[in-house]
C-alpha cells in the first residue's frame, strides 16, 4: 500500500493542478478532490516515509500483540488512506470526514494493546484532544464560508472576510491544527499516545499525521484566507519557538525512549511552525523572496522530520522487539547485538541532531538563513525581537544534539545494563529494508538538497509567488544569492570522505598498525559494573538543573544510611496543573451540578416534560 502510494506520488508532484469531483457522500454534496503543488508535496511526504514504514510494518507485525494482525492491517491502511484523502480534499465536508477517519483509525491503532490501563488512558486523552481540535477546525470552516454556505474550498477562496473574522478563522485553525500537531500547550496527548502505540504506528503518527496538521495550516493560511496579517505570523513564530524549546528541554529529561522521541516531535513541529510563522510575517510585509525561503525551510523540515523521526521510531520498535524494554535505564550496548539497527539509527540520530551533511542540517540551515533577514521587516520592535527568536532557534537546535546523543548513547553504546540484553537479536530483513529506505532518504536530501528545494519551490511559487532557486546549481544551494550564503551537501560529503580517507591511508602507511585488545581502564578500581554508567536520568541531570523552572519535579532522595538506596524522580509538565486539571475539575463540577437533575426516578422526568410543555405553551400563547 505504501509503495503504491509512493509511485502515485511521483506522478503527482507535477505542476498541473488537477481536480476531480466524485459523486459520493451525501446527495447533492459530492466529494471534491484537488491535487495541486501543496497537496503534491505532502503526498510526497506521505509516500516517501509511508513506503519505508509500511515495509517495516510488514516485518514488524508478524507476531500479534493485542489486536489481531488482520484487523490491525485494516486499521493501518484506513489510517494511511485517510491521510492521503485529507491532503487531497477540496471541500470542507470531505476534509472533515477524512480528518475524523484519520483520528478514529489512529485511535484504534494506539489502543491495540487495550488490555493495559495506561494505554487505554492515553488513547482516551488522544481521542479527546483530537475531537477538540476537530471541533475548532469545523468552526473555522464555518467562519470561512463567510455567509455563502458553500463549503467547497473554491468558494472559501472567493469569500471575502472582514479582518475580525479572518483572524477568528486563523485562531481557530491554529487551535485545531495546533492540537493535532502538538503545539504547546495543546501537546499533552502526544507524549502519552506516541509511546502507547506500536512502533510503526508511532512512526506514522509522528512522521506523517502531524504533517497533515501542517498541511491544513498551510492550506488555510496561505490558500483559503486571502488576507494575512503580520500579527498572525508573530504569534505563530512565538508559539512555534516556544514549543520547540519546550519539546527539546523535556526530551532531554525523558527516561522512556519513545516518550523522548515524542517530545522531540513537539520540538520539530515547533520549528516547522516557526518557519511558517516567519513566512507569514514576511509575506504580510511584502517580502515574498524571504517568505518563500522561510516557507521552503518549513516544508523541507516537514519532509525531513517525516524521514528521520519515522526511522528512529521504527528503530525503537526493533529494540523493543529484541529486548522487551522501553526504559532507557535498562538498555545499553546494543550496537554489538544489533549492528544493523544501530548503524541505521545512527544516521537518523545524526540527521535529527542537525549535523551536516545530512538532511536535518539542510532545513535548519535554511531556517537560520531566513531568520537572518528579519531586520528587513518594516515593523519596528518586531524586527528587533525576531533575532532573539534566532537565538532561541540556535539553542533548540543545539539542545536537540544533546538529546540525540543521550538517546543513541544510552540505547546503543556502553555496556548492557541488564543481563537479559545478551540475547537481543537484530531486526529481520523486511525491517532492515524499511529502516534502510528511510536512512537513504535522510542521506539523499542531505547530500542533494536541491531536489527537495525544487519540490518545495513549486509549492512556494504557488503560495507566495516566489521560488527559492536563485543561485542554485546542480551541486549547491544558494537561497538568496551565492555571495551571501551557499551550501553544498555533495561537496561537503566528498570533502569529508576524502579527508578522512587520506588521513586513514596516511596513518596506515606511516604508522604501524599494531593493536591489542585489553580490558577497559578501570582507574584502579576493579569493581566497576555496567550500572555505573550514566543512566538516562543521569545524562539529563544538567538540563534538569538548568531548566528547573520548566518542570514540576517530585524527587525522592535516599538517606545516606539506607542499605538498599533507591532514587526516584518524577517529572511532570506544568501545563497539566495550569490548564488541564482546572478544565477537568470544571467539567467535573458542571457535570456534578447537572446530575442533580438526574435523580433516576421516572416520575421526576415526567414532571420535567410536563413543565417544559407548560413553558412552551405559555411561550406560544
Amino acid at each position: 500500500m505504501g509503495v503504491a502510494l509512493l509511485t502515485g506520488t511521483f506522478l503527482a508532484t507535477g505542476h498541473a493542478t488537477e481536480t476531480l469531483i466524485l459523486p459520493l457522500g451525501l446527495p447533492d454534496l459530492p466529494f471534491h478532490f484537488r491535487l495541486d503543488a501543496l497537496s503534491g508535496f505532502f503526498l510526497l511526504i506521505l509516500g516517501v516515509a509511508g513506503a519505508g514504514i509500511s515495509v517495516f510494518a510488514a516485518g514488524y507485525f508478524r507476531r500479534g500483540e493485542g489486536t489481531a494482525p488482520a484487523l490491525l492491517g485494516l486499521q493501518y491502511h484506513v489510517f494511511l488512506a485517510s491521510m492521503a484523502v485529507v491532503v487531497l480534499a477540496d471541500d470542507a465536508y470531505l476534509f472533515m470526514v477524512a480528518w475524523e477517519t484519520m483520528a478514529l483509525s489512529s485511535y484504534f491503532l494506539v489502543t491495540s494493546q487495550h488490555r493495559i490501563p495506561e494505554i487505554r488512558r492515553a488513547g482516551f486523552l488522544y481521542l479527546l484532544m483530537a475531537h477538540m481540535g476537530a471541533l475548532c477546525i469545523l468552526l473555522c470552516f464555518g467562519v470561512m464560508q463567510g455567509g455563502s454556505w458553500q463549503f467547497t474550498f473554491d468558494a472559501m477562496r472567493g469569500a471575502s472576510l472582514a479582518p475580525f473574522w479572518a483572524t477568528t478563522a486563523f485562531t481557530l485553525a491554529l487551535l485545531g491544527f495546533g492540537a493535532k500537531a502538538g503545539l504547546v500547550p495543546l501537546h499533552v496527548w502526544l507524549p502519552e499516545a506516541h509511546p502507547a502505540a506500536p512502533s510503526p504506528v508511532s512512526a506514522m503518527m509522528s512522521g506523517l499525521m502531524l504533517k497533515t496538521a501542517i498541511y491544513g495550516m498551510l492550506r488555510i493560511t496561505f490558500d483559503l484566507l486571502h488576507v494575512q496579517f503580520w500579527q498572525w505570523g508573530a504569534a505563530m513564530l512565538a508559539l512555534g519557538l516556544f514549543s520547540a524549546l519546550f519539546g527539546a528541554i523535556f526530551a532531554a529529561v525523558q527516561t522512556d525512549m519513545k516518550r523522548l522521541l515524542a517530545y522531540s516531535s513537539i520540538e520539530n513541529v515547533g520549528l516547522i511552525f516557526a518557519g511558517i510563522g516567519l513566512a507569514i510575517l514576511f509575506d504580510a510585509s511584502h517580502l515574498p523572496l524571504f517568505a518563500a525561503l522561510a516557507l521552503g525551510a518549513a516544508l523541507i523540515h516537514a519532509l525531513n522530520h517525516a524521514l528521520f523521526k519515522s526511522l528512529l521510531f521504527l528503530a525503537t520498535g526493533s529494540v523493543l522487539h529484541a529486548t522487551r524494554q522501553r526504559s532507557l535505564g535498562k538498555l545499553g550496548g546494543l550496537i554489538r547485538r544489533m549492528p544493523w539497527v544501530a548503524f541505521l539509527a545512527l544516521i537518523g540520530t545524526l540527521a535529527i541532531a542537525g549535523l551536516p551533511p545530512l538532511n536535518g542540517f539542510v532545513s535548519e540551515w535554511l531556517l537560520l538563513q531566513s531568520f537572518l533577514f528579519t531586520p528587513r521587516l518594516p515593523q519596528a520592535f518586531i524586527n528587533m525581537l525576531v533575532p532573539l527568536g534566532a537565538a532561541a532557534l540556535a539553542l533548540t537546535v543545539a539542545l536537540a544534539a544533546y538529546v540525540m546523543v543521550k538517546f543513541y548513547g544510552v540505547i546503543f553504546l556502553g555496556q548492557p545494563r541488564e543481563a537479559s540484553l545478551a540475547d537481543a537479536h537484530d531486526a529481520n530483513w523486511l525491517e532492515r529494508i524499511g529502516l534502510g529506505w528511510l536512512a537513504a532518504g535522510c542521506v539523499f536530501i542531505g547530500v542533494l538538497p536541491q531536489f527537495a528545494l525544487r519540490a518545495a519551490g513549486t509549492v512556494t511559487s504557488k503560495l507566495v509567488g516566489q521560488t527559492i532557486t536563485p543561485g542554485a546549481s546542480f551541486w549547491r544551494i544558494a537561497p538568496i544569492a551565492p555571495e551571501q550564503a551557499s551550501y553544498s551537501g555533495l561537496i561537503f560529503l566528498a570533502g569529508i570522505v576524502a579527508v578522512i580517507g587520506i588521513t586513514f591511508l596516511l596513518v596506515r602507511l606511516l604508522a604501524h598498525g599494531r593493536m591489542r585488545r585489553t580490558a577497559a581502564w578501570d582507574c584502579g578500581y576493579p569493581w566497576q559494573t555496567s550500572r555505573m554508567q550514566d543512566t538516562a536520568e543521569g545524562f539529563g541531570q544538567p538540563i534538569r538543573h538548568m531548566f528547573g523552572a520548566f518542570f514540576r519535579m517530585d524527587r525522592e532522595l535516599p538517606s545516606p544510611s539506607d542499605p538498599a538506596p533507591r532514587y526516584r524522580i518524577h517529572i511532570e509538565d506544568r501545563f497539566w496543573g495550569w490548564i488541564y486539571q482546572p478544565i477537568a475539575r470544571g467539567v467535573q463540577r458542571t457535570a456534578d451540578t447537572v446530575s442533580i437533575l438526574q435523580g433516576g426516578r421516572l416520575s421526576v422526568y415526567l414532571l420535567y416534560s410536563f413543565l417544559t410543555l407548560l413553558a412552551l405553551l405559555v411561550f406560544v400563547l
Binding site: 545524526l350 604501524h512 580490558a519
Partner: protein
Amino acid sequence: MKTISLVRQFAEVVLAIGIAPLFAGWIAQCRAWMQNRSAPPLIQPYRMLRKLFHKDAALATDASPLFRTTPYVLFGTMVLATAIIPSIATDLPFAQAADAIALIGLFATARVFMALAAMDIGTAFGTMGARREMMIGFLAEPALLMVLFNAFLLFGSTALPNLVDGYAAHRSGIDPSVIFAAVAFVMVLLAENARIPIDNPATHLELTMIHEAMLLEYSARHLALMEWAASLKLFNYACIGFALFLPWGIAIHGADGTGALLVAVAALIGKLVVAGAVLAVIESVSAKLRLFRAPEYLATAFLLAVLGLLVHLLLGANTIA
C-alpha cells in the same frame, strides 16, 4: 574555479595542520613562563605525537567500530574546517560549499562523534565526560552562532571569506556591537577548547575533567589523532577570531599575489604569537569554575552576543551592506 586557487587552498590546509601543534606548544610555553616554570620546547607537541604514533594501540575489549572511526572523523572534520576558514587568503573554493553555519555544524559533528565514542566503552568517566561536553556544547554553540549573526548583519554574508572581503571594502570604524561579539567569542573559545575557566587541559583530576575524560580509553595513534584534532580546533577558533575581529593582513580576493600571501602568512604567525600569549595570560590569571557555574559563564557569553546584536539593531548603523 582556477587551479591556482585549489593549489593554494591545499597549501593552506597543510600549513594549518602543520602550525596547529606549534600553536598549542606556544601556549603551553607561555603558561609555563607565567607560572615561573621552565618551559617545554616549542615542538613538544610534535614529540608527543611522534611518541604516540610509535606506540601499540590498546583497545578496550568491546570497543565498537564507532570507537575506532571517531579519531579519523574528528581529525577529518577539523581539517575540513581549516578549508572553510580564511586564515591566509579569502579565495577559498571550498568555502562556497560550506558557510559559517555549516562550520558550526562541522564542529557540532565532531563534538557529537566524540561524545558518542566516549560513551561507547561504557565506563563511568567516559559517559560523564560526554554529558559534560554536550552540556558545554549546547550552550556554547548558540553563542557562537549569535556572534556570526552579528557579523552577518554587518557585512551581509554568512560565508567567512566574504565577511573578510566585506570588512576590507568598508573599513569605516568599528561598530560597537563588535566589542560585545568579541568578548563573547573569546569566552566561547575558552569553553569550546577545554581551557580554563571551564576545563583544564593539563588535568586528569576525576571530578573536574571534561575533555580528558572522553579521551581516557584512547591510546597510541588514535590518541595522537585526537590530540592533533584538539590543537587544530584551537587553531581554527583562533583563525575564526582573526577573520571576524582582526582581519588585517589576510590576502583578500583579487589582491592575493605571492607578496600578499607572504605578508598574510607573516601576519597570521604574528597574530598567533600574540593570541597565544593573551590566552596564556587569561588562563593563568583566572581560576577554574565549578562545573555548576559553567552554564552561567556560557549564558553570559550568549547574552553578550545577543546584546551585541541588539546594540547593532538599535543603533541601526550601516545595516546589511
